[in-house]
Structures are given as structure tokens and as C-alpha cells.
């Protein structure tokens, strides 16, 4: 297991982060035009002074090394549009809210998705299957930026059951979490159905049934472990989608999270701030993908053995 983790970390995680950091840094620094030139014409001297103040007048390799060094120390540079604030500060204050939203939405998507998938898999081509797959199909076709406003309209503004903005208390969480998580619940339901159907058709399940185990034990005690593997593999892409999907949900429900920070930074062309967010998201994704791989290896011993054989 340790060797597996080691391999994942050094062969995949670290190169990925390095590529991401280099690529995005070069993209930002080599793009035509100064980051300060966007709004109004500034006098030559002011521009030079600004460039010097932010260290942008140095040769590129030096800038690159210095930026990477600072990143390792946790310093993501200054914000170009919010004077006096550092990127680390801006991100740090918004990150907890976004993480909370993301984790809640992922949990919701997993529970709803897996239950729908199981419901479909144990009733193949019958009523339960058609209903849950119908729901999943509709879910896949309603993106968060349509579902969010729709829910806000019905449950917030018309029925007045739930608040439609802010993040103060659990009642505020309901609508954003559903808006964000539903599309992934739908994907997960489809994957869980496929995985469970395959697992339920295997010999050991027939044995379990022949032994007279209850259907609940067969499904939840035996088949689930193998059947949710496609779902676990999907967790990496799902987490990436949730992170970015949160942008629109945070904008719609006015939640003070990272999504709003990055969208405003992009609109204002605040390069260091966008760069910092990209690096942070990249790191989060790499960590998450590594966790998913470990989880898969725990669920499926074959993957562990393969890693052993390779070395």
C-alpha cells in the first residue's frame, strides 16, 4: 500500500502540479499586454513603477523561479486589483465556505445517486428502473445555472420556504447544495446502475442468494462493494466539476466563496489572483484524485497487486 501511494505521488501528482504551475504561469506572463493596461491609459512612468513594485520588470526565468519559490512558502503574490491584499489572504477567507458547499453537494450526490442506481439495478427494465433512470436523464440535462434559479423561484420566492441568498445557517445550504449536486447525482445514478447490474449478475451473488441471504444483505452487504467502483472512479471528475460548478451556484445564491472570487478576478483580469486559484484548484484535485485511487485500491485488491508487479 505504501509503495502504491509513493508511486501515485511521485509519478503522477507532483509532475501534474509542476506542469500546471509552469503552464499557467507562462500563459499569464507571456500573454500580450500589461495586466495594468486594461482599463484606462496610464502614463509610462506609472506603468513602469507598477511593474517594478510587483517585480514584473525582471527577466522571465527569475520571475518564474521567484514565483514558484513563493508558492512553496504559501505566498501566492499580491492581488493586482485589490491593493494591499494578498492572493493567499483572499483565497483563505473564501475557501472554507466553498469546501463546505462542495463536500455537502458531493455527499448529497453520492447518497441520492447510489440509492437511485441501486433502485434501478434491482428492478431492471421495470417501473423502478424507468423512474430512476428517467429522473437521472432529466437531471443530466438541467445544469446548475438553470436548476438553481428554478429552485430559488419556486421554493424561495413563490412558496417562501427557504432563503435564496447567503450561507449563514443550514437552511441556507439546502437550495445551493441541491442545485450544485443534482447533475452529479444523476451521473452517479447511471454509473451505480451499470456497476450494480454487472456485480449482481456474478456467480458469488448467486451463491449468496442460494445460501438464503436476504436481498438487502445481498445488495448492500455483498454487491455494493464491487458495484460502486465505477462511482468511486468518477469521484475525481465529479469533484472537479463540483468545484467549478460551485462558481455559478455561489453567484446565484450570493455565497461568499471562492467561485465569486475567481469570477470577479477573471472579469477584472487580476492575473495573480486567477493564477493562485488555478493552482489551488489543481492542488485540491490532485490530492482528491490520489485519495480516490487509494480508495479504489482498498476496495479492489487487484489494483494493489498490479502496482506491485510493475516495480
Amino acid at each position: 500500500m505504501l509503495r502504491f501511494l509513493f508511486q501515485r505521488l511521485f509519478l503522477q501528482a507532483i509532475p501534474t502540479l509542476l506542469v500546471l504551475a509552469t503552464l499557467s504561469f507562462l500563459l499569464v506572463r507571456l500573454a500580450p499586454g500589461s495586466p495594468f493596461a486594461s482599463e484606462k491609459e496610464l502614463p509610462e512612468q506609472t506603468l513602469e513603477a507598477l511593474n517594478r513594485a510587483y517585480g514584473l520588470d525582471r527577466p522571465l526565468p527569475e520571475q518564474y523561479l521567484r514565483y514558484m519559490g513563493n508558492v512553496l512558502k504559501g505566498d501566492l503574490g499580491p492581488s493586482l486589483t485589490k491593493p494591499g491584499r494578498t492572493v493567499t489572504e483572499l483565497i483563505g477567507s473564501a475557501l472554507p465556505v466553498s469546501l463546505q458547499l462542495g463536500v455537502l453537494a458531493l455527499g448529497y450526490a453520492l447518497i441520492v445517486g447510489i440509492l437511485l442506481g441501486i433502485l434501478a439495478a434491482v428492478n431492471p427494465n421495470r417501473f423502478g428502473d424507468h423512474v430512476s433512470m428517467g429522473v437521472a436523464l432529466i437531471g443530466i440535462c438541467i445544469p446548475g445555472f438553470v436548476l438553481g434559479p428554478l429552485l430559488a423561484l419556486v421554493f424561495g420566492l413563490n412558496l417562501e420556504w427557504l432563503p435564496v441568498m447567503g450561507w449563514e445557517s443550514p437552511v441556507h445550504w439546502v437550495l445551493p447544495v441541491i442545485s450544485l449536486g443534482s447533475i452529479y447525482a444523476a451521473y452517479i445514478a447511471r454509473l451505480a446502475r451499470g456497476g450494480m447490474m454487472e456485480e449482481l449478475s456474478k456467480d458469488y451473488i448467486r451463491t449468496a442468494r442460494a445460501k438464503g441471504l436476504s436481498e438487502t444483505r445481498v445488495v448492500f452487504g455483498h454487491a455494493l462493494r464491487g458495484g460502486i467502483q465505477p462511482v468511486i472512479s468518477f469521484l475525481g471528475p465529479a469533484a472537479a466539476g463540483l468545484l467549478t460548478g460551485a462558481f455559478v451556484v455561489e453567484v446565484i445564491f450570493q455565497i461568499p466563496g471562492l467561485g465569486r472570487v475567481i469570477v470577479n478576478a477573471a472579469l477584472n483580469r487580476d492575473q495573480f489572483l486567477v493564477l493562485g486559484c488555478v493552482l489551488l484548484f489543481g492542488a485540491l484535485m490532485v490530492v482528491f484524485n490520489t485519495l480516490v485511487d487509494v480508495l479504489l485500491a482498498l476496495l479492489n485488491p487487484r489494483i494493489r497487486l498490479e502496482a506491485k508487479e510493475k516495480t
Partner: protein, 286 residues
């Protein structure tokens, strides 16, 4: 093709026709496309001309889906916005197709070390947060429609490359490729004339999956104000405008949202149907 035989293509068509959901999807998509292309031409209203006297009208006989805050007919605006949404989806898919098929084809055809390295690069790129890279591209360059095509296409080619590479890898072992090599054909000729046509079915299936995901990405970016810029509008930016006035005039959000929903639904039906039709081995599950 002769004496009662069927080509693979005819067979696939027949299977597709038998699938009711897929046929419905195909009709709906054709209808949406035709409506977006020709609708604005026959509409009595212009999509940009303002008429403040008829601002914020509810749906009625003269304005089927009502009007927006500047008195512009929402139906016409939605159809014109659909043109942009479809255009971005098709153009970006074409870009991703071009890069993905070429890259995957070359990687699979060459095999060995080159292939291993080319796929290693894809693996690393795969782990990057793409939507953010698109946002980064949009941040550093001027926001324009062409950039949107290229940025989306440039990040959406990876899966295509993987799929094509896998197929080519198994195809190139077969005898007809050996025959081509014996005949002394150039590598390019073998790859583009003999290998790639054989992966067409798989590519078509994947394209029907790529188009909706690109439409979603475009709508997502436009919703955030990072995609299509005014005065142009797409479904994403119309939804965004609609959300602002949702409390009093819900149809402004519901109409473009509904159009996007129906299109995605149709594309999903069609994609599932095509997958079953072009890949009979998979059967009807999934």
C-alpha cells in the same frame, strides 16, 4: 450493398430508426437547428431593435414568449442566441476532433516509446482543472468568440485522443495494414486513408457526447459573463439576464433555460441511440 447484403452504415441506420427515443431526439435536434437558423428570418421582430412601449410583456399571441426589459421579442432572441450556442458547440467540437483524432491516431500508429510518452502527456493534462484553464485563457487574452472556440476545443480533445489511440492500437495489428505496408504506402496515407476511417463509428458516438458537454461549458461561461459578450447573446447569457429579472418576469429565464434543456435532452437521446446502433456488441444496456 448488392444482392441483399447490407453495409454497416445501413444496418446502423436501421437500428437507429427502430429506437424511438433516438429518432425523437434526432427530430427534435433537427427542429431546433432549423428553428434557430430560419426562425429569426421569418420572425416579424428583430432581436436587437428596442421597443420600450412593449417592454416586459407576458407571453401573448403577438409575443409568443413575451418580451424583455427593452421590449425585444424573447422568442426571436432565444433563436438568435441558439445560433451562437450551436455555432460554438460545433466549432469547438471540430477543433477538439481535429486535435484529438490526429494526436490519438499518431500516438496509436507509432506505438512503443513515442506512444507511451504521448499518452503520459495526456495523463498529466487530464488531471488539470480544465474549466479553470479556459477561464485563465479568457482572463489573459481579449474575450472573443474565436478564443472561446479555440480555448474550449483545446481542452476537450483529450478523451477523443485516448479513444482513437486505443482503437488504432488494436487495428494496426491487422492484416490489411500489413498489406498496406507491403505495398509501400506512406505512414500518413495508411493512417489517414486506411486506419482512421475504421474508427469513424466510435468517433461519431463520442462526438454526440462532446457536443452537449461543450454546449454546457459555453453556457456556463456565458452565464458567468466570461463567454459570449454583449451585444451578442447565447443561451447562457440569456439565462443570466433572465435570472436578474426572475422574480417578476420568470419567463425571461424559463424560455432560454427550456431551450437548453430540450436540446441537451435530445442530444442525450440521440447519443445513447447512436451508441447502441453503431456498437451492436454493447447491446441495449447502459
Amino acid at each position: 450493398m448488392n444482392s441483399g447484403g447490407h453495409s454497416l452504415g445501413t444496418d446502423a441506420w436501421r437500428r437507429l430508426w427502430k429506437n424511438k427515443a433516438a429518432t425523437a431526439g434526432l427530430f427534435l435536434i433537427t427542429f431546433m437547428l432549423a428553428a434557430c437558423i430560419f426562425g429569426p428570418m421569418i420572425s416579424p421582430y428583430s432581436h436587437e431593435e428596442m421597443d420600450l412601449l412593449s417592454a416586459h410583456q407576458s407571453p401573448s399571441a403577438s409575443f409568443w414568449f413575451g418580451t424583455d426589459e427593452l421590449g425585444r421579442d424573447l422568442l426571436t432572441r432565444t433563436l438568435v442566441g441558439g445560433r451562437i450556442s450551436f455555432a460554438v458547440a460545433f466549432a469547438s467540437t471540430a477543433v477538439s476532433l481535429l486535435i484529438g483524432v490526429t494526436y490519438g491516431g499518431i500516438s496509436g500508429y507509432l506505438g512503443g516509446k513515442t506512444d507511451a510518452w504521448m499518452m503520459r502527456i495526456v495523463d498529466v493534462l487530464y488531471a488539470l482543472p480544465f474549466t479553470l484553464l479556459v477561464i485563465l485563457l479568457i482572463t489573459v487574452f481579449e474575450r472573443s468568440l474565436v478564443l472561446l472556440f479555440v480555448a474550449i476545443g483545446a481542452v476537450e480533445w483529450l478523451t477523443m485522443a485516448r479513444i482513437v489511440r486505443g482503437q488504432i492500437l488494436s487495428l494496426r495489428q491487422q492484416e490489411f495494414i500489413e498489406a498496406c505496408q507491403v505495398l509501400g504506402y506512406s505512414h500518413a496515407r495508411i493512417l489517414f486513408r486506411h486506419l482512421l476511417p475504421n474508427v469513424l463509428g466510435t468517433v461519431i458516438i463520442y462526438v454526440t457526447l462532446t457536443i452537449p458537454s461543450i454546449m454546457l461549458l459555453e453556457a456556463f461561461l456565458s452565464f458567468l459573463g466570461l463567454g459570449v459578450q454583449p451585444p451578442m447573446s447565447s443561451w447562457g447569457s440569456l439565462i443570466k439576464d433572465g435570472v436578474g429579472a426572475m422574480e417578476d418576469f420568470p419567463w425571461l429565464m424559463l424560455v432560454p433555460g427550456g431551450a437548453l434543456f430540450l436540446t441537451l435532452l435530445a442530444l442525450n437521446f440521440l447519443g445513447d441511440g447512436l451508441r447502441d446502433a453503431l456498437d451492436p456488441r454493447r447491446g441495449g444496456e447502459g
